[in-house]
Subunit: 328 residues, 4 copies
């Protein structure tokens, strides 16, 4: 059995997401509750490599539950992808007497953790923090719900001007490989069409749908497009294509971009982050490793990090169907 855990390190890594601070806070407070020390490393794995540590007490995480971003900063560390980088990180971790790690991030973060664990048998628990919701082993990742609300709120604003001017808007949202944000925010915003990487609608069907929408008397329309849509055109080309083929439409494009990563987290994300943060600490204290904590069927459950990385979180087919029915 492993050594008794007396000091836990925590990092945030990869793209930042609202609720990461709530997760850090939960890890820190759970450590205090169980009378162990907590240390944060800055800028993800890079902070481990550089020994850029800070002892975190409950006082340090006061009033951060409502803040976007991450007080520990985040980064993608190319150095940690090398054997030498990981060796440096291990040396710094031992020097700091850290016994286990909580890794808050996405696929890349977890892959790093698994390799590190393989090489050094160092206890690691992952917490899924990313707005993309593309992680197997949890129904919801931390930050996803907030991003949906941000997108829906912006599309509500765009709809004001779209319907005042009888325009067609293409709105690009985040999700390079997964259409979770596009599909859910699209349904939530009442979008007429939703284009996602998981489903190749085809340009012809899009034109048909827009023609039908015009015929049915709709004077304005919103099409939500996922960054990673497979239709083979980016959102500007798509807009040009539609404007050429449907001259009755005045088309505009809006790329929402990085604002989707920020903002004060929703209640759902704060509670999720708090539950997962506590569980991560408890698992480490219980001698577990190489697991990701997640929410499955409203219960906190664990998944092997390996499965979390290799598994595929599939889009909800029922919601796709509902989206079609709504666009009548």
């Amino acid at each position: 059995m492993g050594k008794k855990i007396e000091k836990i390190g925590v990092i945030t890594s990869g793209g930042d997401a609202p609720g990461m601070n709530a997760a850090i806070r939960a890890v820190v407070r759970a450590c205090a509750y169980y009378n162990i020390e907590c240390v944060g490393a800055y800028r993800g794995y890079q902070g481990l490599i550089e020994g850029d540590f800070k002892i975190l007490s409950p006082r340090h995480v006061s009033n951060i539950i409502n803040r976007g971003g991450t007080i520990l900063k985040s980064a993608r560390s190319s150095e940690f992808r090398t054997k030498e980088g990981r060796a440096k990180a291990y040396k710094e971790i031992k020097k700091a007497e850290i016994d286990a790690l909580v890794l808050i991030g996405g696929d890349g973060t977890f892959t790093g953790g698994m390799i590190f664990n393989e090489e050094y048998h160092f206890p690691c628990i992952g917490i899924p923090g990313t707005i993309d919701n593309d992680i197997y082993g949890t129904n919801f990742t931390i930050g996803y719900d907030t991003a949906l609300n941000t997108v829906v709120d912006v599309i509500d604003k765009i709809r004001d001007t779209a319907s005042s001017h009888n325009r067609l808007f293409f709105v690009e949202v985040m999700g390079r490989d997964a259409g979770f944000i596009a599909l859910n925010a699209g349904v939530g915003a009442g979008a007429e069409e939703i284009l996602i990487p998981e489903e190749d609608l085809g340009l012809e069907r899009l034109l048909e749908a827009l023609k039908r929408s015009k015929r049915s008397g709709k004077s304005s329309s919103i099409v939500v497009v996922s960054e990673g849509d497979k239709i083979g055109k980016n959102v500007f080309e798509l807009a040009d294509y539609v404007e050429e083929n449907l001259p009755q439409y005045e088309v505009r494009v809006s790329v929402l971009g990085h604002m989707q990563r920020g903002g004060s987290p929703s209640c759902f994300d704060r509670v999720l982050a708090t539950r997962l943060g506590v569980k991560a600490v408890e698992l480490l204290l219980d001698g577990q490793t190489n697991l990701m904590v997640g929410l499955l069927n409203n219960k906190v459950e664990t998944t092997e990090l390996d499965h979390a990385v290799k598994g595929k979180h599939h889009i909800n087919k029922e919601l796709l169907r509902v989206s079609d029915i709504m666009s009548i």
Copy 2:
């Protein structure tokens, strides 16, 4: 088996909740998709009794997905609780050639529907719309997620002034019989203590907790209290009691009240309402009745209306424990 469904009626009844409009929209559009008519009745069961109907086409529900309240208005009808009232309602329903009903509301709404169904064998499907989340058969009721965000947003503001002045705030939130809002919003807002009807903390333990909090260096505190807390004192008496016994605290009270029922629904509530609205129509078309649609483990499922009314949606014990850990 019953007659073919060609016209569906829809009502919103009981306390209003954000997302009711999204549910109405989904019912209307699903009807259009399946080529049947949809009729809305105003002010819940009272509109059925008075024959206060309006044909609803997809055009009527444009741009309502983002609006709080209910375009069909809501009310509690004492007349519908009488045999005569229900007879009048049945007569009006037959006159309007309505074949089935979608009932959006809570316990009281569903009870009315069951009695009506028993007396007239009239197909009824319920959709849980209430901010209280106190319905058995669904993990989430429509409006609950939005109410949580509203509460958390307000407590974030209160915390600004609480921590500027080193004060203790008692914040009363809705939930007469169920502490869902208090517990989840309390955890989400980082409240120091949470008082809910399901758990009698006891005044002594509250004082102890607040003393400990002061000793640990916290300069301000938020205590979230559910309307229906069983501690035997209302929120003002509670505040007085604490101020008398802990003179080191300057105490303030805030009763959030009806604002919790309003506002633009969150993405979660809009998507939930849309999915449940579609399913309700499809169940009626499939010849089903006396069911409530709900979200269980992220799938749309059905529960007998009878069970929905009699069953008890229990508070999450794990979250209670997490809340204790966080208040360290």
Copy 3:
């Protein structure tokens, strides 16, 4: 002296702005208060040409004070720029027995009104409704304050992710000819640099400022750029240029776009729109014409439409200076 005013027409024209609905509501209610009729025309001048009118009573404008966009829709009418178009409009206006017009919009809208007045001696009062704040004769245009809050709110979100990742963001905001939004929202969002059309900072000075900012220990930065910045590069070229010359920066671009036109108006914009709407009606009843109502030094004042169009609303030099001091 002109004929007694018994029926007033109202249009919204040009780009839509939050608060236009509040202005329409104020015009309608003021008409009711003074016992005259009010008629709305759809899609700006185009609605006048097509006789696309609707009688507006106070009931029609219930619950619109809080909505973005314009219930009367807006458009730019090329037909109204022709003599024939205006003749058609006059014919329709006379047929509908409209005695005077309230024109809600910007420069283009007012120019149209002046020409129409010149040709037909038809009473017209203008209300400045545009997010750009580029109208002479008013300190604030309707929609400007809301747009500032929208921009600041989005930049707050971007800053979360910028500071989590130590990045430099270029954020493009609206304002083709005027830097009001960029300057005020830039100061409000704590931007490190602000690039506006009124002031050619020069690329060299921008690089210098960013270098100094990096040296002073800032780990992330926001540069707000007005659409119409005179620096001779669009925001993407600007970002590339900086990334080439300051490789220590990881640069990202965000173009806010049309969302800036939408959303529920701020209290300031609602009150402003209400005051100006009432005054416009009272001026027409008083036999006035060819005036714009505006807010000067917190009082509702009038300016000749001619001056409003030809005059230049200058940027606040003191605020430019304050902005420099803040970017230390």
Copy 4:
């Protein structure tokens, strides 16, 4: 002439207001710009008495422009009202080598500053920070605009539920001696009636107005009541009175309370606070004292502290009239 200013102290005192942090940030950055030191004292005058100081560099005020509350905390110090208290404060100030003070707060804060200046000839400049807008010498106090948006946003939510249930709501807002918030937020929220301390409407007229409103077909109504309304009844008594006399109304009460003091400041408040903060520092450097900086006619102007305290900021009569017209 006074001694050269080399170190400036800053406090926030009295009720906190959104934008106080933006003002602190502006003072700190302006000091850095002019190469002088800046010191913050905690909890207003009490911090001066206790020598509870902290050196503030630009780094300390990063990312606070968007936060409600005040990082320097606020309090009302009874000790500073005594000669002994002020003597202690002077001693601490001299010990810390502070040469001048920026006082952010309201009437009480400024009175304290004047007495202190009289006794010790110590340079003091006041910045009006309070949500109440009840200060002579400035059109707008810092925090007022944000409070208006908060109130309007909450009433928008209440209206959702009011109009769903055909109810009459009495909403109490802050403003013990001044009806600025009630009047402006009332107009902005489209309230049917507004009760403010400056104007005794009388109970009879209120009943008349509500009856007329009911007759004209309005199904729901909002009455905004200022805390300090002179009608002689508190908001609950008022509601009871109306319910007794107008049984056709179902009446509810909502007291907004302290949430009005919190929240992220609006762009307007951030820009205002920034401008006033810079000016305060420049005035001190210029050898001035006993002045309040304010915004008059969109320019930063100064008023003798004495006048600011004794003068009366009157409610806008035109807006009262507009409010009557709107309630038709």
